[in-house]
């Protein structure tokens, strides 16, 4: 892990440094002008959040049924990272909405559901912080339920009439926009991997420190 981390972090950093130039070269979308460029940061952050949710849910399941501290650390890290990427999506979304719809926020199905997912994973972080001993299992339950609800809430968008651009926009992008878009998605996924490794390592050190304290007290 440690050997991969340095080069991976450096590469991700380079991709992010280059990303403004890549995005700047993409053509303007006809109706939205420069605001449409938010898309290159907004959509990948949601992609990253959904990936983090999937990792968190899977690790939570393993921890709940096998009691693996390693899986617990991964679930903890992925849960926190899901909150971070969700926050990024929730900040960039209203910026676009202000221009496209004239308001920062509307109670549209997709926005409501995005906020809901964010709240679910924040509650997972809160229970870890304030739940006391045994809260790792509680947080695992939140992770599993969060994962179980995600496809539902995603589907609900298709039931409701929504004014948010549909998910079908992505496969129909022209090549001049698709290339920078997938570049950004890759950069975000790498960022997710880097953050996950960092956070898991931090958790590992915290656990080691706690063990040392316990050994010292005995």
């Amino acid at each position: 892990m440690r050997k991969v981390f340095g080069p991976l972090a450096a590469f991700t950093g380079l991709m992010f440094v280059a990303s403004p130039f890549v995005v700047a070269r993409a053509p303007f979308e006809s109706s939205m002008g420069i605001v449409s460029k938010i898309f290159y940061f907004h959509v990948p952050s949601w992609f990253a959040m959904f990936t983090a949710i999937a990792i968190c849910g899977a690790a939570s399941l393993i921890h709940l049924f096998r009691t693996s501290p390693r899986a617990d650390r991964i679930a903890e890290a992925a849960g926190e990272i899901a909150v971070v990427f969700g926050l990024m999506g929730l900040v960039t979304g209203p910026m676009w909405g202000r221009k496209a719809w004239g308001v920062w926020w509307i109670w549209d199905a997709k926005l409501t559901i995005a906020l809901l997912l964010e709240m679910t994973f924040i509650s997972g972080v809160l229970v870890r912080k304030y739940g006391g001993p045994g809260s790792d299992k509680l947080a695992a339950a939140v992770g599993i339920f969060g994962l179980a609800v995600t496809p539902f809430v995603y589907e609900a968008v298709n039931i409701w009439r929504t004014i948010h651009p549909l998910t079908s926009v992505v496969p129909t992008l022209p090549a001049t926009m698709a290339v920078p878009f997938w570049y950004c998605v890759t950069a975000y996924m790498l960022l997710l991997a880097v953050l996950l490794m960092l956070r898991v390592n931090l958790g590992k050190r915290q656990a080691a420190l706690d063990e040392l304290y316990l050994a010292y007290e005995d």
Partner: protein, 225 residues
């Protein structure tokens, strides 16, 4: 064995409740106060805002349900009886089902009071399609109680459990509440919108299946120390 255990847990809780009526009376009172509080927000010049009745009904159910969940398990914690229950040589999932049935009965009673009250106070035509309304209420209540019972049970051992129960429960349960509110609101108009209500009943049914399955599956490892 399974259903017998669930039945025994339900009977035990009912017997304890019948001695003091503490949880039932406080829940009913709180449900009525919820309706009252929200009526201030949604009544304009003597008339309620359109669709407000549906929202008020479901908020009252969710809030009073949370209160009841907290109290029910606080009682177990206070007597340190949950540990004894878990030590019993019975399937853990059966304990969960017993608790779930108890909560459903309690909230069912609360709804028996709430629905006529909301219909009366907000001139809401809630009884135009009684079967659809019952299906909506049943679907929503099962979904709410399935997750609520699991979370309340696992929070018994946690610190600051009173605060954490609504914090954990609401984000996960909001889709159920939304489905309940939209379905009920569809029934409220001058001509009840049956297809929409049936669609939401389907959504609630799907949530119930997922939540109950997931709860039955995770109850055992969650309650293991």
């Amino acid at each position: 064995m399974f259903f017998r255990t669930a039945w025994l847990v339900l009977k035990k809780d009912a017997a304890i409740e019948a001695k003091s009526w503490e949880v039932l009376t406080t829940t009913l009172f709180f449900a009525v106060s919820c309706v009252l509080i929200f009526s201030f927000a949604f009544v304009k010049e003597g008339r309620a805002v359109e669709d407000a009745a549906a929202g008020i009904l479901w908020i009252a159910i969710a809030f009073s349900g949370t209160l009841a969940l907290g109290r029910t398990f606080e009682r177990e914690r206070y007597g340190e009886t949950l540990r004894a229950l878990l030590l019993a040589p019975a399937p853990r999932a059966a304990l969960y089902v017993g608790k779930l049935l108890g909560m459903l009965a309690l909230l069912g009673l609360a709804e028996l009071l709430l629905v006529p009250l909301v219909a009366l106070l907000f001139q809401a035509t809630l009884f135009a399609r009684p079967l659809l309304l019952i299906a909506l209420l049943a679907g929503g209540t099962i979904g709410f109680c399935a997750v609520g019972t699991l979370f309340a049970a696992m929070l018994v051992r946690a610190r600051s459990r009173d605060v954490l129960l609504p914090i954990l429960l609401y984000p996960i349960i909001i889709p159920v509440i939304i489905a309940g509110v939209r379905g009920t609101a569809a029934l409220l108009g001058a001509t009840p919108d049956e297809p929409t209500a049936i669609m939401w009943i389907g959504v609630l049914g799907a949530f119930d299946v997922v939540f109950v399955t997931l709860s039955l599956w995770t109850f055992e490892p969650l309650m293991t120390e």
